[in-house]
Amino acid sequence: MEERVVFVQGNGACVEGALYAGLGFFAGYPITPSTEIAEILAARLPRQGGRFIQMEDEIASMCAIIGGSLTGHKVMTATSGPGFSLMQESLGYAIMAEIPCVIVNVQRGGPSTGNPTHVGQGDVNQARWGTHGDHSIITLSASTHQDLFAMTVHAFNMAETYRTPVILLLDEVIGHMREKLVIPEAGVLPVVDRLRTAVKRGVDYHPYLPREDGRLPMSDFGGDHRYNVTGLYHDMWGFPSSNPKVVGSLLNHLVEKIETSVHDITRYKERYLDDAEVVLLSFGSAARSALHTVENRRRRGDKLGYFELQSIWPFPSGLVREKLRKARRIVVVEMNKGQVTAQVKAAVEKPERVFLANRIDGELISPTNIATILRIIQGKGV
């Protein structure tokens, strides 16, 4: 398929990225503002040898894609806050059983039913700690449709590489606004395919014994190797075990396989950080307003810098500390009450330099809002 240019919603760009990455099975349930992802895939997937199913609720959707992943398919579901809450238990199962899958959360105003047709970015911490128990998770974000396409492919690549669920944290503004998207030719963006075991039939296959490089080759259900998959702590063959050594090493493996790969997972964008005195740090649709503010002020000679997080979890503390070392002030622009701000404060040496510029009333934070808050922060009054 050669390069194509389309004019799509963000939800559509996410679909194009998923298909580019080799999505084979999608299960979902209608919820504003992510329903378009399901609608488009209902039409597109069957035409491309893939399968689409609408399940009875978000719990069933998340469970179904885990089943689909185990037969060797790249899988995805898409939802928003309330559905994401319902998916937490099975998300934890996918973490424990190390099942590659992608979960798109097109955020809306929360909590609860909240503000369904309006924007919010309040699910950041839920993406990290929504499911119970110690664990680690990968969560990506994007502020333009071209980036969203790339981050969707990156999400599938990280899911396959680390045999883990990956959360694509979008929001209503990105999801619904239309923008130009250039869909590259096949092969332009790297795509990581499912790593399958080379162990022959009859020879002992260990589904949960990592290779030296840490990768865990899989074996499709229906294939040569009959093993067990469970949400219980399990041995290298997948059978339940509560042996303390097994439990301890498995939990450490589940966390460390991601936390020690922050460098490989992390994606970000930056502008003017070399001489920036005030840096706007943001993600998702808020980053569009932050970038606009930085470009405006730069034209007027102000030394503003821009730093966009495209991977929120695992939080790149080292990178943030390094990149913002010289900044006198760091202003986190986000549409919640400071969830990323807290992470930035923990990452940098002088947390008192970190400020929050937010908007939590369901409207997109605008360059004007940011400008007003910057003046307050810089003590010039409103």
């Binding site: 491309q48 885990i66 899988v75 093993y227």
Partner: protein, 273 residues
């Protein structure tokens, strides 16, 4: 291929209590699979959480030990993404009809080709004997010390109303009937539900006057009759056994495949809406 080839012998003796009916369900299941001559590598067993759910660890198939109540949702994902596989989904009565009720009725409505086995011991055994949606009114459980105030589901009617195209009930006393029903259920193309009354002497029997396995099976023997028997009409405590529904309607995966045939391949028409 003897019966032993279908189990993971290294895990025996299994973890169920002495006299637990779930062992008999396992016994009947592997004999049904053996007589169908199925290839072990084409069978996926998805189970939920609870005593019944441990059955997936004992069979030498692809085994998927899922979440409480969610086995049918997982199984739908496995089957729908790889229709060549045979899906067997044993669940407890609470697993299938309490927390799992929503997935139960929708899997039946979809008529997806999986075999749901409700291992009905009328209790939550693993957690120590609480009453379940299948406990008989007045049954005692640790959370119904004075006897439950609730009527159980009629699992046969529930599955039938939801759209299951194969519905049967049997008991662990009637093992031979159980084997033949499981055979037909697995072979059936569409959603099959088999309610398998299974004794739990330890958590249910002790609290309801049936303290050992033999007395529980005597109860199954005397309180179930073949479909159509007079006794079932006269006494509501007598349940009918056998195959209630066995009809052919479009199976979900096949309907999907047929639909895909009719759709023009993606012409890269600019794609997204």
């Amino acid at each position: 291929m003897g019966t032993r080839d279908f189990i993971r012998e290294r895990f025996f003796p299994h973890m169920w209590c002495p006299g637990c009916g779930h062992g008999t369900v396992l016994n009947c299941l592997i004999r049904a699979v053996e007589s169908l001559g199925l290839d072990k590598s084409q069978i996926v067993m998805a189970s939920g959480i609870g005593c019944s759910a441990r059955i997936s660890g004992y069979v030498d198939f692809h085994s998927l030990h899922t979440l409480h109540g969610r086995a049918l949702a997982f199984a739908t994902g496995v089957k729908f993404s790889q229709p060549a596989l045979t899906l067997i989904v044993p669940m407890g009565d609470g697993d299938a009809l309490a927390i799992g009720g929503n997935h139960f009725i929708h899997a039946a409505r979809r008529n997806i080709d999986v075999t749901a086995i409700v291992m009905n011991n009328r209790t939550y055994g693993m957690t120590g004997g609480q009453y379940s949606p299948m406990s008989l009114m007045g049954d005692c459980g640790t959370t119904a010390p004075m006897g439950t105030l609730e009527r159980p589901f009629d699992a046969v009617k529930l599955a039938t109303a939801a759209g299951a195209t194969f519905v049967a009930r049997t008991t662990t006393y009637h093992a031979r009937e159980g084997i033949s029903i499981l055979k037909r259920a697995i072979a059936h193309k569409g959603f099959s539900m088999v309610e398998f009354l299974s004794q739990c002497p330890t958590q249910y029997g002790r609290r309801n006057g049936l303290a050992d396995a033999p007395s529980m099976l005597e109860y199954f023997k005397t309180h179930t009759v073949p479909i159509g028997s007079e006794k079932a009409q006269e006494d509501p405590n007598i349940l009918e056994r056998g195959i209630f529904v066995d009809e052919d309607r479009p199976e979900y995966c096949e309907s999907y495949a047929a639909m895909v045939q009719k759709m023009a391949p993606s012409s890269g028409d600019g794609g997204a809406l």
